[in-house]
């Protein structure tokens, strides 16, 4: 076991030919013999990595970054244009649960058909049939036609078959996003027991939380290239960084974040240009400081954070209130406060000034957080200036806890005596 790699991906590239007009009938090929215009699309470019036996590796990347193509190349569904993939042991892929299920056949028949498609012999299926059915919790429906199954039941049966193939290497593609919460938990438990048995898992997702929870290392893919690999925390950070960078391009990207980023850049330009002259007091800039500045660009949980807001008043403005809001990536407000709540009254004289919000500890776990800042009068009747997502900071959790808040916790376990 030591030193052996279960999967070795060596410099693989995959090119797709996108034909502008597909001529796949004889007549069309005769009529337009030369008019086969196409574009080359490199879905993968010189991708290399290896997964040591018994390890779980996550592949993260945005939609369209080549994750699924990579999986298909590793499983042999697609043939690589160049490079080589080496695999040690039996490989089972959960690319699409229940692929190849025949709606007309019963659950029982489909288990046999699907398992044999995944490379199991009849005798092996017979031996594991009860386990498969028990895991899927479909005992009473196993002799019903699959077409009457709900989508959840369908997926459950598909997952049960695939994991009971007892592969040495399990390739999982986003499939855990389906099914109800209880079943998801069950799937995760199964994956964890796979890990304990020393099986190798290749896990593809864009759910950073899951990668942290399950994987021992991760590879970040962007536009078909590996932009980094390493422990999950680092990889997730890299992934987030690139998510923000690439946010201005159209297309790709997770929708929620995409919109957020687009909005932010638009807001900044529009308010930046139009606002300044007509208002009595405006924000001229913000700055963030935390221990990571200059070295790593992100915060560790519970590190301090300071935010300065510079403002400029063209006349004296009484009863000014400065407010801030911290939002997470999905746009949920994590925290909001202002100088009215904090009871710091301020009358701004003409000229500039600086507000200083200091957080001695930021108890947040992973994520990129955006700060909205604003100036208004007491009571909120007039908003002098408001900047959406004026600045952002990132928190990177080096530990293995998941979630969004770094709660302090102490744990004690003790056995109760029988008496």
């Amino acid at each position: 076991m030591p030193g052996m790699n279960a999967v070795e991906v060596q410099d693989i590239s995959k090119r797709f030919r996108l034909y502008h007009e597909k001529h796949s009938s004889l007549k069309e090929r005769f009529v337009h013999p030369r008019r086969m215009t196409y574009e080359d699309l490199w879905a993968l470019r010189d991708v290399s990595f290896e997964i040591p036996e018994g390890q779980t590796m996550g592949i993260i990347g945005r939609n369209g970054s080549g994750k699924s193509t990579l999986l298909k190349c590793v499983t042999g569904i697609l043939q690589v244009t160049s490079g080589k993939v080496l695999v040690r042991g039996k490989l089972a892929a959960l690319l699409e649960l229940g692929a190849g299920f025949q709606p007309e056949l019963s659950g029982r028949d489909n288990v046999f058909l699907n398992a044999s498609l995944l490379g199991l012999s009849t005798r092996e299926v017979e031996k594991r049939f009860d386990d498969i059915v028990a895991f899927s919790e479909l005992e009473q429906f196993i002799d019903n036609q699959v077409k009457y199954y709900s989508s959840g039941m369908y997926v459950r049966l598909g997952f049960s078959v695939a994991v009971n193939v007892e592969p040495d290497i399990l390739v999982v593609d986003e499939v855990l996003a389906v099914g109800d919460e209880k079943f998801q938990r069950k799937c995760l438990d199964k994956i964890k027991s796979f890990q304990k048995e020393g099986r190798t898992i290749m896990f593809v997702t864009h759910a950073a939380d899951l990668v942290r929870q399950i994987c021992e290392s991760a590879v970040v893919l962007q536009e078909g290239q590996v932009i980094g690999s390493g422990p999950p925390g680092e990889a997730i950070r890299l992934f987030r960084e690139h998510l923000l960078e690439g946010g201005d391009e159209a297309g790709g990207g997770e929708p929620a974040e995409q919109i957020l980023v687009d909005d932010a850049s638009r807001m900044r330009t529009s308010t930046g240009e139009a606002a300044s002259s007509t208002r009595p007091i405006v924000i001229t800039g913000t700055e963030i400081q935390h221990p990571g500045i200059g070295r790593r660009q992100y915060l560790m949980p519970r590190e301090p954070l300071r935010l300065w807001i510079a403002f400029d008043a063209i006349m004296s403005v009484p009863d000014v209130v400065f407010s801030i809001e911290i939002h997470d990536q999905l746009g949920n407000m994590v925290f909001g406060t202002d100088t009215e709540i904090l009871d710091v009254p301020y009358d701004a004289p003409p000229g500039g000034g600086v507000v200083d919000f200091a957080f001695p500890s930021v108890p947040l776990l992973d994520g990129t957080y955006a700060i909205n800042v604003g100036i208004r009068n007491r009571g909120g009747g007039t908003v002098y200036d408001w900047r959406e997502q004026e600045c952002r900071f990132e928190v990177m959790n080096p530990g293995r806890s998941v979630g969004s808040v770094a709660l302090d916790v102490e744990v004690g376990v003790r056995s109760l005596s029988a008496s």
């Binding site: 070795e8 569904i77 490079g83 080589k84 390493g230």
Partner: protein, 343 residues
């Protein structure tokens, strides 16, 4: 619960860039990595496993071994086809026998009673030739489309895809078995015994037929992915091919003309001719051919070749088909790489 180790994480926090643009990240939580692996990880992966290269063209030998490993899959696919076909019908499987029985009956009425065409026991003569031909035709029609029709599986699951074409042949063979059952019942009903002494020649003949079908369907199913016309072309070709085989008309009537024009070899270059003649020779039974019915003049329906002739002819077809099958598998392997993209 882990304490978010500030000092530890910060020391590893910087990312070192390498020339290729790939960054290798040294991990802040290395110790955690070994936990899962180290604890009781040795239960599963103890025996060394051979490395297998995915994603390069497999050699013919590997392909054949994979194919052999997938034989059960072929059985499941055949079973699936048949089950799905008759799933919601009341009579179910019985239809696969009723259909040829009815055909036989109609031919018996039309050609045996109404339009007497001089061939005694015409229904049995026809059926003897149709048995192998139907297998061939069914296999070709479904086999050519096998990969395209199963596109959803081909795109999602990795398995030797030749299996799909071969399963079509297997399905056609199952229908052949049903039809043969009907044929046997009819022959018993009409007191029409086969040529018992040469019955065993049906075995090499059937092997030749299955191998020939396998070779063609493997090749055509791959070509059809890229040129979808193939399927329609095959449908048309099969019509012509049918009349190039002496299933409906007696070979005897053509024999003299073929010899005159020195075209006999062309006729026999068609493996289906050999196979159909073999089936007719054994099931229709040449010795019955001289028996005349009613007012028609005696007709010699079958040419009488020796048993050895049939055996050798069929063995030649087997050899040819095996060679074709190997070539087809190689071509299939070449074309297979882009299946998932083309579908």
């Amino acid at each position: 619960m882990d304490a978010p180790g500030t000092a530890q994480g910060a020391s590893h926090g910087t990312v070192s860039g390498t020339g290729s643009g790939t960054r290798d990240l040294a991990g802040p939580d290395r110790p955690l990595l070994d936990r899962v692996q180290g604890s009781d990880g040795a239960t599963h992966a103890t025996r060394p496993k051979p490395a297998r290269v995915v994603a390069t063209r497999a050699s013919l030998r590997q392909r054949l071994m994979e194919l052999w490993g997938s034989r059960e899959l072929i059985v499941f696919l055949v079973r699936k086809e048949i089950k799905v076909k008759y799933k919601n019908s009341v009579l179910g499987l019985l239809w696969s026998m009723l259909n040829p029985a009815f055909t036989l009956f109609v031919y018996y009425v039309v050609f045996g009673i109404v339009l007497k065409n001089g061939i005694p026991q015409f229904a049995i003569y026809l059926m003897a030739g149709l048995l192998p031909w139907n297998l061939f035709q069914t296999a070709m029609m479904s086999g050519t489309g096998a990969v395209v029709d199963n596109g959803s599986i081909v795109k999602k699951v990795a398995f030797p895809r030749e299996v799909l074409a071969l399963a079509s042949v297997g399905t056609a063979f199952m229908f052949f078995v049903f039809q043969t059952t009907v044929m046997v019942l009819f022959m018993a009903g009409f007191m029409h015994p086969p040529s018992w002494g040469e019955l065993w020649i049906l075995i090499p003949s059937l092997a030749a037929l299955l191998l020939f079908c396998g070779a063609l369907t493997v090749f055509l199913s791959a070509v059809n992915v890229y040129l979808r016309d193939t399927r329609h072309l095959i449908e048309v070709l099969l019509i012509a091919w049918f009349w190039a085989v002496p299933a409906v008309y007696p070979f005897k009537t053509l024999y003299a003309k073929l010899v005159d024009h020195h075209l006999l070899w062309v006729y026999f270059a068609n493996p289906m001719t050999v196979i159909v003649l073999t089936f007719q020779r054994i099931l229709y039974n040449a010795h019955m051919a001289h028996v005349t019915t009613a007012a028609t003049a005696p007709t010699v329906v079958l040419l009488i070749f020796s048993a050895k002739w049939y055996l050798v002819a069929n063995l030649v077809v087997i050899a040819l088909s095996v060679a074709l099958l190997l070539v087809a598998l190689v071509i299939f392997g070449r074309l297979e790489g882009n299946f998932a993209e083309e579908l």
